[in-house]
């Protein structure tokens, strides 16, 4: 192998290592949270949980190589797009159905229903704001 490809291989190894750390950190935080809560140390558990996410953010911002390559980014974009489409589909179909059922059959949706649709609405509001920021930023 040439020097250039050796450097490239090393870069991919570094990316792989940081990527593993990136995903392991929040998982380890969640695991530590569960263990700490089991033994009655809730505050310590929450601290460890947040520590996991701080490590995640630290790796994300400060890693010496890009954590994702262009195909990873494209996969993430497509997954996000599909998720938003599925959520919209649920909103479009389920919300009017529940309104009709409650008007015609006296169906009372469970309390969680309002929370779910508030969450969906908030998700789309955030999407709209982010979209506009990206569209109009210089």
């Amino acid at each position: 192998m040439t020097d250039e490809s050796t450097v490239g291989t090393r870069r991919l190894d570094v990316r792989r290592r940081y990527r593993r750390l990136l995903y392991a950190a929040p998982l380890a935080g969640a695991f530590c949270f569960a263990i700490a809560v089991t033994f009655g140390y809730e505050v310590v558990g929450v601290g460890l949980y947040w520590l996991g996410f701080l490590v995640f953010l630290g790796i994300w911002w400060r890693a010496p190589v890009s954590i994702q390559d262009e195909r990873d980014k494209q996969l993430e974009r497509r997954a996000s797009e599909l998720t938003l489409t599925l959520v919209a589909f649920v909103g479009i179909l389920v919300w009017p159905s529940v309104v009709i059922l409650s008007e015609t059959r006296g169906y009372e949706p469970p309390p969680v229903y309002d929370g779910v649709f508030l969450g969906i609405s908030a998700l789309y509001a955030v999407f709209g704001v982010v979209y506009l920021i990206l569209r109009y930023r210089r």
């Binding site: 250039e4 490239g8 291989t9 870069r11 390559d69 262009e70």
Partner: protein, 68 residues
């Protein structure tokens, strides 16, 4: 997008991992391009073309529909 990548890579005696390392993407990305499941960015297409010392048009065939 149709491409000549597997043949050129074999001719150069490179594995997918070697080529991936040379252009700075994962082996899976090279595999996806070769199987025509992923279209590379312009930047990556240029890097691949440079790697094989050819033009992008030689390496990739966009297979555009002919205009009427």
């Amino acid at each position: 997008m149709k491409n000549d990548l597997p043949a050129r890579r074999d001719a150069a005696g490179l594995s997918q991992a070697d080529l991936a390392a040379a252009v700075g993407v994962s082996r899976q990305t090279i595999n996806a391009i070769e199987r025509e499941r992923y279209d590379p960015s312009l930047e990556l297409a240029f890097k691949l073309a440079r790697q094989f010392d050819c033009d992008i048009e030689t390496l990739f065939d966009p297979d555009f529909d002919e205009p009427n």
